[in-house]
Amino acid sequence: MKTSILALTLLAATTGSPALLAADAENGRTLYRGYCAQCHGLEGDGFGVNAPDMEVAPKDHTETAEMQARSDADLFKAIKQGGKAVDKSVLMPNWDANMSDDEIRDLVAYLRVLSNTGAK
């Protein structure tokens, strides 16, 4: 995982994404374990412990193609304001009271690692 974080940092450096360059994907991983993994799974595949009874399947964050199609701003908005704000399920809540903007940026950086996609 360390290697992919390094790769991501290098990628961010070469593509010049200042927001994600400063973000800490390692901290994002801790936040993911705390807040996201209950539905999206410890490994991010969408099969968290809460998933079996949910009426809308949580997104699979390891799907590179699908995650590539989402911008950092999109992901940030979905986390901060919830699924409804990006025309997705209300079952994805708004996490604005749980995480600061910086923490959400860390989380977005970790999503890039998880999905093996670059910042955009």
């Binding site: 801790t30 936040l31 374990r33 705390g34 807040y35 993994a37 209950q38 539905c39 799974g41 410890l42 490994e43 595949d45 099969f47 968290g48 412990v49 809460n50 998933a51 079996p52 009874d53 949910m54 009426e55 919830g82 209300v90 079952l91 809540p93 708004n94 996490w95 604005d96 009271a97 749980n98």
Partner: protein, 234 residues
């Protein structure tokens, strides 16, 4: 299993009394019992702020505002016959196993028994003392819950589809998420104004609570509590 013995705390107290330092209050013995036996897993006085890491490694819920959270009758009952409230343990991530069928709670990893069993007298004494721990009273003072009638069907739909509570919480033993505490027993366990206050703003009670603040208006907060109360009455 740790043996909890009030006679030890009483003899400690008696030791203090011999030196004439403290008046003989039964309340002091109750307090000492709780301090001696509960503090290793529960926060009894608010100290430093939680971090996400410290929150995820908690062994039991904070009790420094127990008197503003729990119903005493329930505590007395539960302490004599503790039953699991959180299907995924205090923090689901510490008990989760990744399998080919998806993540599951590893049954054997949950503490068993879930909590030490107390005698009736110790349960009554502990609950009486815990009711005196009333930090954050100002938050309850802001609440003004008035029960309203709600149909079970509408309540259930609101709980799961509209508000998304069932993603993490169960409103019946066999349906819903497992990362949060079960809620079909919530109204039996918790004070009404605590429920409304916590739903309104979880972070003022637990700064690192994993529960989102859905920014609900008063009416919507009440509607959820109406439903939780209906579940208790069944």
């Amino acid at each position: 299993m740790i043996i909890f013995n009030k006679s030890i705390s009483l003899s400690l107290l008696a030791g203090t009394l011999m030196f004439g330092l403290a008046p003989a209050y039964v309340a002091a013995a109750e307090a000492q019992f709780v301090l001696n036996n509960c503090a290793s897993c529960h926060v009894l006085t608010q100290t430093e702020k939680d971090t996400l890491q410290s929150y995820m490694s908690r062994k039991g819920p904070d009790l420094y505002y127990a008197g503003n959270k729990y119903r005493e009758a329930w505590m007395v009952k539960w302490l004599q016959n503790p039953q699991r409230i959180r299907p995924g343990g205090m923090f689901f991530g510490n008990h989760t196993e990744v399998t080919d069928e998806g993540d599951v709670i590893k049954e054997g990893s949950l503490p068993d028994p879930v909590h030490v069993k107390l005698s009736k007298e110790d349960a009554q004494d502990s609950a009486a003392y815990l009711m005196t721990l009333t930090a954050k009273s100002d938050l309850l003072a802001e609440e003004n819950y008035t029960p309203k009638k709600i149909s079970k069907r509408m309540g259930a739909m609101n709980f799961s589809k509209f508000k998304g509570c069932s993603s993490c919480h169960r409103d019946r033993p066999d349906y819903g998420g497992v990362s949060g505490p079960e809620l079909y027993t919530a109204a039996e366990r918790l004070q009404e104004n605590f429920m409304t206050s916590y739903i309104r703003n979880p972070q003022v009670w637990e700064s690192k609570s994993l529960m989102p603040n859905r920014h609900l208006p008063d009416k919507e907060v009440s509607k959820l509590v109406d439903y939780l109360k209906l579940l208790e009455e069944k």
